[in-house]
């Protein structure tokens, strides 16, 4: 049949030549190839000690940001939880009390903020949805753990470290 795409390639199986059938010359060629690799530098990155360089827009573990005065930006609007396709985010809102102005920027804040790292697909839709620029996926790879419950990260792990006093 005429080929329509013009990409057809007819392959011919040629019988082995005597040299190829004698195995040994070909094997010596193979040994030379592997010997070349023997002296090559390993491509291994020994993970915990050495880390692969990530691209700039790598999406890792989430962090809840603080503003320039060290107040938490998050106002618990719930847009991130709404946008999350994996339904990994939950939160409980609370009202800011008198004397807590230095902790939270707005009158409403997230008393509980939890991300289930086993559900999270690191799509980054939460950071796109956030109107307060409070959440970013700028962290490291989420570390391994033994129990499922330990993968539900609360505010203790997510909120950015306070500014230097």
């Amino acid at each position: 049949m005429e080929s329509l795409s013009n990409k057809r390639k007819v392959l011919e199986v040629k019988p082995l030549t005597l040299l190829e059938r004698a195995y040994l010359p070909v094997i010596v060629g193979g040994l030379a190839t592997t010997m070349k690799h023997f002296f090559k530098k390993p491509v291994t990155i020994s993970y915990p000690e050495e880390k692969r360089e990530f691209s700039e827009n790598f999406r890792g573990m989430h962090s809840l940001k603080r503003d320039e005065n060290g107040k938490e930006r998050c106002t618990a609007c719930g847009l991130c939880a709404l946008s999350c396709p994996a339904e990994a985010i939950t939160m409980t809102a609370a009202e800011r009390q008198k004397g807590e102005e230095h902790l939270y920027r707005e009158e409403k804040y997230a008393a509980v903020y939890e991300i289930n790292m086993l559900r999270c697909i690191f799509c980054g839709l939460c950071e796109e949805a956030c109107p307060k620029e409070a959440i970013y996926l700028d962290g490291d790879i989420v570390p391994a753990d033994y129990l499922r419950k330990d993968f539900i990260y609360g505010k203790d792990k997510l909120v950015e470290a306070p500014l230097n006093q």
């Binding site: 195995y23 040994l24 094997i27 193979g30 040994l31 190839t33 592997t34 010997m35 690799h37 023997f38 090559k40 530098k41 390993p42 491509v43 291994t44 020994s46």
Partner: protein, 347 residues
């Protein structure tokens, strides 16, 4: 036999036994390391510096694993299998000359456990016994994969023993003796047998790969077809014995190859060494050089394993019966005609 001689022999036996076990142990480490280097990786490097404690960790793991004997297996034979495999692997080293004689306190001691005048034959006997360990283990497992692996091992060993024996015959025509000690002594200096028997050496090498069940002839344990081959049902240290036996076999066959073809403990300028330093120094350097040859040979086994793929079973049989055996016979004829003509013309 005098007491001093007896004590020396016993010490030598213990030392050689220990050395072959340690070499086998570190061959498992070397195998993984060499494989890694051939594949641009770093290999085991966590247990101790550069991972040199890895074999100990592996051994500890093997001992602590659960011991499973399948319900339908033949209990007694199931245990005999790996025991026989490791036993036959260990006793092969008895006839190998590890060095020329050394003098301690005016006495001369041979660095060889026993010099029997049929050394080559003894090695062959032990090597062909080795397949019984695999055969019995595969049979006793009562598992189809194990049985297939065992059958493959048996038929492969039988096929390749023939051409191995034939390739040795050509060598024996030149040496005129079966004693490994005399064969080693004949290769004094640089008169190594491999220069006189290059084809015989290549045949022997290929057969040695097949006899030790190493890649490209590792069909008895080829995991893509037979799960684990003859040791599918084995666990714990019994599996460890099978794996260990393979590495000891590799060590012994490397030693035999070095003794038969690569001059054993002989090296160029060994007489000068004895004059410059002392005969004992020359002998010890010889032992070191023999081990160098053995280690290179083991490295070569690994090099080949990580280079070429496994043979198909019919290709294996074709190679054994249709290529190696005719070549070995031709080698005998060539050697016979050649040596007759050379003697006739007075060389």
């Amino acid at each position: 036999m005098e007491t001093a001689d007896l004590i020396f022999r016993i010490v030598l036996i213990v030392v050689i036994f220990a050395i072959s076990l340690v070499v086998a142990m570190y061959s498992t480490y070397a195998e993984r390391k060499v494989a890694a280097f051939f594949q641009d990786r770093v290999g085991p490097n966590r247990a101790g510096p550069w991972g040199i404690l890895q074999p100990l960790a592996d051994g500890g793991k093997m001992f602590l694993k659960e011991e499973i004997i399948p319900t339908n297996a033949t209990g007694f034979l199931f245990i005999v299998g790996p025991s026989l495999a490791i036993l036959t692997a260990c006793i092969g080293s008895a006839v190998i000359p590890w060095g020329s004689a050394i003098q301690i306190g005016g006495r001369t001691f041979d660095l060889q456990v026993t010099d029997i005048n049929v050394g080559v034959l003894y090695i062959f006997g032990v090597v062909s016994l080795g397949v019984y360990g695999i055969m019995i283990g595969g049979w006793a497992s009562n598992n189809k994969y194990s049985l297939l692996g065992a059958i493959r091992a048996a038929s492969q060993n039988i096929s390749y023993e023939i051409s191995m024996g034939l390739s040795i015959i050509a060598l024996l025509m030149l040496t005129g003796t079966l004693s490994l000690k005399e064969i080693a002594e004949q290769q004094h200096g640089f008169h190594w047998n491999v220069w006189r028997q290059p084809l015989g050496f290549i045949l022997f090498l290929v057969c040695a790969f097949a006899e030790t069940n190493r890649s490209p002839f590792d069909l008895p344990e080829c995991e893509t077809e037979l799960v684990g081959g003859y040791h599918t049902e084995y666990s714990s240290m019994k599996l460890g014995f099978y794996l260990f036996a393979e590495y000891i076999n590799m060590f012994i066959s490397s030693a035999v190859m070095a003794t038969l073809y690569w001059g054993g403990y002989n090296y160029p300028f060994m007489d000068d060494m004895a004059v410059w330093f002392s005969p004992n120094t020359a002998a010890i350097v010889g032992v070191v050089i023999l081990f160098g040859k053995i280690f290179f040979s083991i490295f070569f086994f690994m090099w080949v394993r990580w280079t070429i793929p496994r043979f198909r079973y019919d290709q294996l049989m074709d190679l054994g019966w249709k290529i190696l055996i005719p070549l070995a016979i031709a080698n005998i004829v060539l050697t016979g005609v050649g040596s007759t003509l050379l003697t006739h013309f007075g060389y």
